[in-house]
Amino acid sequence: MEATVDIRSARFREEREADWKRLEALVQEAESRGVTGLSFMQARDLAALYRQATTSLAIAREISLDKALLAYLEALTARAYLSVYAPQERLGGVVTKFLTKGAPQAMRRSWAFILLGFVCMGLGALCGYLLFFDNADWYHVFMPEGLAGGRGPGSTTEYLRGVIYDDDPDARGLGAFATFLFSHNTRIAIFVFGLGVFLCVPAIALIFYNGLMFGAFVALHVDRGLGWDIAGWLSIHGVTELSAICIACGAGLQLGFAVLFPGQRTRARALRDAGRDATKLAIVAALMLVAAALLEGFGRQLVQDMNTRLFIGWGMGALWVLWFALGGRTSGRGRS
């Protein structure tokens, strides 16, 4: 089959076919064992042959009309490209980098959105609080039955106190941890994040509504003279948990903001840019929710003293703030 064909592109193919076959074998090996499984010579050949194949593809597109050849080179180049340009980062390094630099820097960069989240929830809580004192029936409007756990304007002060200082062995341990992790608040956090992506408004409305519930709930206890007790009961996990919701909301708002006001960029591009920080915020929020569930599942039942509860809750809050404020300061200055 050699020499009798004098078509230029057929000769072009004959001369290079062996290299392509070799590249194909190398790619297959790299795909099954990973690039790290290749020997030094193989890795070197893979890169060199890949570049050679791209050149062949570019030339073949110009000089050849052989459909089979073009399709083969295209597929081969694509496969080789995919195994040459595989992610090179180490997983451990990424986690450390995220904790020490990425997360706190992202938190500082998007402080405005997080603040907006806190403000929305704070306003909601204030409204709920004031409305409850205006008329206690508002409590039933804001609070779904299932969430209140039987606590309402109708229940006695002793009952409310009993719930706050309750050492029920069933409400402790792993089961409780899981229950609290997938509780109402986690759902709210995921919702505000996701809804922020679609549009800002529903996220703001939802977090405002969450604030209303919170405000009314606190007002009920303040009304019965249990203000500090409920503060302790909520603080031990709530400082972390409600902050996580606000941070998730901030992340959602950041994405929604990019969709609504992309500026000179396209919306997809703006979304991608905003996503860099928003995902970091979401991961931070997720970490905080897990911590909150731990505190709620184990801490709250073990610690029955009001002052200790307050101390643990706000101490955790202070630690979070320290992390966000000081983490990644030294080397993060120069970059924007």
Binding site: T54, T55, I63, A75, G175, R272
Partner: protein
């Protein structure tokens, strides 16, 4: 004169859909994976992670670590803690492929042709949580007593389904944020060169001679169609279709002869050899024209030329 002008003058971002530009600067065409095949991959992954979670639950139940009251919460927690690392880690280790994606031969690639970053993989799988699993669990746990949640859930589900259908690369929201999309993995199969068939099969040389006025009628499209026809002949047809195949060959030969004004008769047993000789001559001629900058995509090439000269 151009009859049709592009409406939008703004430059599109990145290469056109279905085309990937590696750092080497040679564009590669890749098939974009549709919604169906991606759902199939998703279902495979779902079954795998669910299986792992169930195994863990059975283990915990046998060790008496959970009580009946909190069973549901523990189960959903375990499912959550198996699936989240599974997607991220498998896509990192297998370079953009989960087991389901490997089975379906699809793969995540980055938009800009650079390698996938861990950030991108984390982002697209975290958004999967909000896009796939949350609507899924919402569907299961829809509660008529909470109309607000029901409404939000419905809007959400519709929204996540619409987003991939609204863009050409079928990217879901997570893909948009991460700057990735999903492609069909191309399979490199090198078929033999049809031009070498003729050299191998015809003993005597120059059975048919084609002059340049014979070869000025067809373009690349017709040539490649002929290539497919000859390849089918070589691959060996089943007996039933060989009769229709012979008819097709006869028709093709007659059409070509008429179009290019080829005077000599072609006997039935010469047909395949005639087509192969014609293929070789035509390909050599067209490739030469192409080298001189005269690219003929199909047989209407001269009409385009007339139209374009003012």
């Amino acid at each position: 004169m151009k009859l049709w002008r592009r409406r939008s003058t703004s430059k599109p971002e990145g290469p056109p859909p279905g085309q990937l530009l590696p750092p080497e600067g040679v564009p590669i065409h890749l098939g974009i994976a549709g919604v169906g095949v991606r759902m199939a991959a998703q279902i495979v992954d779902l079954i795998l992670t669910l299986g792992a979670a169930i195994a863990l639950i059975v283990l915990m139940a046998s060790l008496d670590l959970t009580t009946a009251a909190t069973w549901g919460a523990v189960a959903s927690m375990l499912f959550f803690f198996t699936r989240v690392p599974y997607y991220v880690l498998s896509e990192i280790f297998w370079n953009g492929q989960t087991l389901g994606k490997r089975l379906m031969k699809i793969k995540v690639v980055s938009n800009d042709g650079a390698s996938l970053t861990i950030h991108a993989l984390v982002v697209r799988n975290m958004m999967k949580e909000a896009e796939v699993f949350l609507p899924g669990t919402l569907l299961i746990t829809l509660d008529a007593e909470e109309p607000l949640y029901t409404l939000i859930a419905l809007i959400w589900i519709i929204g996540t389904l619409i987003v991939p259908l609204c863009n050409k690369r079928r990217r879901r929201l997570g893909d948009l944020i991460a700057g990735t999309y999903v492609i069909h993995l191309p399979q490199p199969v090198l078929l033999a060169d049809v031009a070498t068939y003729a050299a191998a099969s015809s003993g005597k040389k120059e059975e048919f001679t084609f002059l340049s006025h014979h070869l000025d009628h067809y373009g690349a499209f017709e040539l490649q169609t002929l290539e497919d026809l000859l390849r089918a002949q070589k691959s060996g047809m089943p007996y039933e279709t060989s009769k229709t195949y012979a008819d097709t060959l006869a028709k093709v030969v007659e059409n070509i002869r008429r179009r290019i004004d080829y005077a000599d008769r072609v006997e039935p047993d010469q047909r395949v050899r005639f087509l192969q000789a014609f293929y070789n001559a035509q390909r050599a001629y067209l490739e030469q024209r192409q080298l001189f900058g005269d690219r003929r995509s199909d047989k209407h090439f001269d009409e385009d030329e007339v139209e374009e000269t003012p």
